[in-house]
């Protein structure tokens, strides 16, 4: 056997020894997960997450935390849970509507023992979509979606037309009115009920913005857009803490307090939580994260879902050591289960 062949045999062995020593010495013995999302949920999850038990499941872990991602990515979810060392009870993602039900993403959430929360966007760039839904022009597609959700079988949270009370989505003002939105919401809800998709928790998710800030920038109290107690199970409020234009850190009260008051004036017996939230990366982030968790306690909310994406501002926790530490502390100091309004069955 020639020298080169011997060397080719020896090299990986020597390398394995050297690398093994380094990895062991530095306690890096696990390969980070790169697994694609499973398409079939494991049997244990089947037992845990069947529709009839979903409310109990989520209430058992209150106050809960979740993560929101534009597209479900196992790596992003793993990175978030590993960094924050917290259980993710809800995995939130977004989808055009009417469109095909993203069962892969929902199944992935279930496999992680989390509730899938899908944000249905009725026409992100088309103001007519909401009107078509309200006027029953898209019933066939919606029925197909409802059938797919029913066939999925696991408990799922569905939010339709989130942040409708703001001015930035086509299903809100000035393109559509509260009357159209409420009509569309109720119609979608009814179609799901007709399809027998009883595994859906209906989450109505307005934005924290509640008043107009320029003559044409219309944000209104969420109460104007409320579809009614019979059509809503949960209420998720969207809002973020950042710096105002004076460079001052925003706090929980100034962002959420008014809208919470408006919501509670019309919605009774509903679980209220933050469906999309985050704290921008800046100097006061630790104080603001502490304030966020304090607000959850003070206002008796059921939990929060962190928006783990960098969009309008850098909300992502990944790589922010101080912010992650504050988040971990916030989660660990959640009190014992708070009294939550009983969800509608």
């Amino acid at each position: 056997m020639n020298v080169k062949i011997l060397a080719s045999l020896a090299m990986p062995v020597v390398l394995a020894g050297v690398l093994g020593g380094i990895l062991n010495g530095t306690h890096h013995t696990k390969l980070p997960s790169l697994n694609p999302p499973p398409t079939v949920a494991p049997p244990l999850t089947t037992q845990l997450m069947k529709a009839s038990r979903c409310d109990n499941t989520i209430r058992a872990s209150q106050p809960f935390t979740g993560v929101a991602l534009t597209k479900v990515s196992p790596v992003a979810v793993n990175a978030f849970t590993a960094a924050t060392k917290s259980k993710v009870s809800i995995i939130e993602f977004y989808s055009s509507f009417p469109a095909k039900f993203d069962e892969t993403a929902a199944a992935y959430a279930v496999a992680q023992h989390a509730l899938p929360l899908v944000q249905l966007n009725p026409g992100k760039y088309n103001k007519l979509t909401l009107r078509k839904i309200a006027n029953r022009a898209d019933d066939a597609k919606i029925r197909a979606y409802a059938d797919a959700v029913k066939a999925f079988g696991y408990c799922i949270v569905i939010s339709f037309g989130h942040e409708m009370n703001g001015w930035w989505y086509r299903w809100g003002r000035p393109w559509n009115t509260p009357a159209t939105f409420i009509k569309a919401w109720r119609h979608v809800h009814d179609l799901f009920v007709q399809a027998g998709a009883t595994n859906v928790i209906w989450s109505w998710d307005p934005s924290h913005q509640y008043d107009q800030v320029t003559p044409t920038k219309i944000a209104t109290p969420a109460s104007e857009w409320y579809p009614g107690n019979d059509y809503v199970d949960w209420i998720g409020l969207d809002g973020y803490l950042s710096l105002d234009t004076n460079g001052q850190p925003q706090n929980f009260r100034e962002i959420f307090a008014h809208q919470i008051a408006y919501i509670r004036s019309v919605a009774t017996g509903k679980l209220l939580y933050l469906a999309e939230t985050g704290v921008a990366k800046e100097s006061a982030e630790v104080t603001q994260i502490n304030d966020l968790f304090a607000g959850i306690h003070q206002y008796n909310l059921a939990g929060l879902i962190w928006f783990e994406e960098n969009r309008k501002s850098p909300w992502q926790l990944a790589g922010r050591a101080a912010a992650i530490e504050a988040y971990r502390t916030g989660v660990s100091q959640y009190p014992k289960p708070v009294t939550i309004d009983k969800p509608q069955s």
Partner: protein
């Protein structure tokens, strides 16, 4: 002393022999150098240098958003940037690209003869993508050099010592770590060891290939384990998460057409190399090796066409060019030799054809804009001081995609002050303009005609068009608002009354 000088003699002789290579390197440096100061930082450069400027913590935190390990290239560029600005940060890139060309020359010389080596290096060096990579402070030049070094080691492994066997996986793993996308070429390096070494001994070539593959995989895995989930996110984002759903920005045909224009000539000549090999009845492994080299060049265009993505096409096509240049060098060299044997004027005709090819490559490299070429340096030196000068503290800046570059040139402005819109400004953005939330608005002049509504709003709501010099005004339009009119919203009074931030 004399003994030492005597020992240098062979090296001096070899350097003198390689005068053609030195000429090519000089030509490459001449082509590249002007771009180093003729262009300002583009978005990728600005991002890497800005993060590097913020220190190790920021670099480690940026791992999920970087296309390569943040601790290899960015600290080097960041350090040079802190000393001599963008131009200094670009110097390593030129050196890496010159190194890559030298290696292409040596490989071509060793595998196919001196003339093929010269032609391969020449085609590689004058290609527009390579010229501009040498003037770009990004991960790519270093990764490309390491990839070519691994290929060189794979070639030398057949006849050289054990050192090449050790160097190959180290260089390959370093390339993979420097830019994750280079992993796509790992199988080609392994294939090179098998196919090029086949004639020297099948068993040996197979053992060497498996050894390099296993060793590289082990180092890659170790890097991944050391990097943890943050790094894994970046790797998956670079390699796996890209899908046709990520954004249907370009048709497959337009992606392929652009690729054909940028590198098509080299690839076509490289394809001719396969034909030459078949006609010359070369061993099947030699023909297969040439096929492998061509495959290296078409990997990226085909993949990008599949994904309908043209972003990063030019950057990543650079990694396939050394492979294609070698096959093209072989084709041209063989053709020149054949024509020389057929006709007494054959070599002159063949040489002229090669020169015409190189000139064509040069012209294409000049005419077709490389995606990652930065804006004219005058823009950087004229626009950003104007923007910085008119920015009002606690207000915002609206731009149509240049905020990353802005953050690099204007580090004093907080990152949260930038608001970027892509495509068409949303109604939300327009209303913020009306609300005087922005003290400065800047848009690319070439896109300005598509924003008549925004321009009308700017005009109607008191924004004033700033005068910039004629060169700059052709590219970037800037508006500003008198300081007294800028809305510094969410005043203390408003905060006390719990009102939301109007401009936030």
């Amino acid at each position: 002393m004399n003994a030492w000088l005597e020992r240098l003699q062979p090296l001096k002789a070899r350097m003198a022999e390689a005068w053609a290579m030195w000429s090519i390197l000089a030509a490459q440096a001449t082509l590249t150098l002007p771009w180093m100061w003729r262009t300002g930082a583009y978005s990728d450069e600005a991002l890497y240098l800005t993060v590097a400027r913020q220190g190790w913590k920021a670099l480690l935190g940026a791992a999920p958003n970087f296309p390569g390990l943040p601790v290899i290239y960015p600290p080097v560029a960041g350090f040079l940037d802190s000393i001599g600005g963008t131009i200094a940060a670009r110097i390593p890139s030129l050196l890496f690209m010159l190194g890559a060309t030298a290696l292409v020359y040596h490989m071509g010389d060793r595998m196919f003869g001196r003339m093929s080596g010269v032609l391969a290096a020449l085609l590689f060096a004058v290609c527009g993508i390579i010229v501009h990579l040498g003037a770009a402070a990004t991960f790519d030049p270093m990764a490309l050099f390491l990839l070519v070094l691994a290929l060189h080691a794979a070639v030398r492994m057949r006849d050289g010592g054990i050192g090449w066997l050790v160097l190959c996986p180290l260089a390959l793993a370093a390339a993979n770590a420097t830019k994750y996308a280079t992993t796509a070429w790992d199988p080609l390096i392994i294939g090179t060891i098998v196919l090029y070494g086949w004639s020297k001994g099948r068993l040996q070539s197979l053992f060497l290939a498996v050894s390099v593959a296993v060793s590289t995989a082990m180092i890659d895995a170790a890097v991944l384990m050391l990097g943890g989930t943050n790094l894994a996110y970046g790797v998956v984002d670079s390699l796996i998460r890209r899908s046709p759903q990520a954004g249907l920005s370009s048709s497959a045909l337009s992606v392929l057409a652009h690729a054909l224009l940028m590198t098509g000539l080299i690839v076509l000549i490289a394809l001719a190399g396969i034909w030459v090999s078949v006609v010359k009845r070369m061993p099947a492994t030699a023909t297969a090796f040439l096929c492998l080299l061509v495959l290296g060049a078409v990997l990226v265009p085909v993949d990008q066409a599949r994904l309908h993505q043209i972003t990063s096409l030019d950057e990543n096509m650079g990694f396939g060019l050394p492979f294609a240049a070698l096959a093209a060098g072989y084709a041209l060299g063989a053709w020149r030799q054949w024509l020389g044997r057929q006709r007494h004027w054959g070599k002159i005709v063949a040489t002229t054809a090669a020169v015409v090819t190189v000139i064509t490559m040069l012209i294409v490299g000049r005419v077709e804009r490389v995606q990652f070429r930065g804006p004219a340096a005058e823009v950087a030196s004229s626009v950003w001081p104007v923007v910085g000068g008119h920015f009002v503290k606690h207000s915002m800046i609206l731009d149509d995609g240049s905020s990353t570059v802005g953050e690099y040139y204007l580090p004093g402005i907080p990152p949260t002050a930038w608001r970027t819109f892509y495509g068409t400004p949303s109604d939300y953005t327009r209303r913020m303009v009306k609300g005087h939330c922005f003290s400065v608005v800047m848009i690319d002049a070439s896109d300005a005609n598509s924003f008549p509504h925004l321009r009308r709003i700017l005009h109607n709501y008191g924004y004033q068009r700033l005068t910039t010099n004629s060169t700059v005004s052709k590219r970037v339009l800037i508006w500003s608002l008198p300081k007294s009119q800028v809305t510094l919203t969410a005043s203390v009074k408003a905060r006390q009354s719990q009102k939301p931030n109007p401009c936030g």
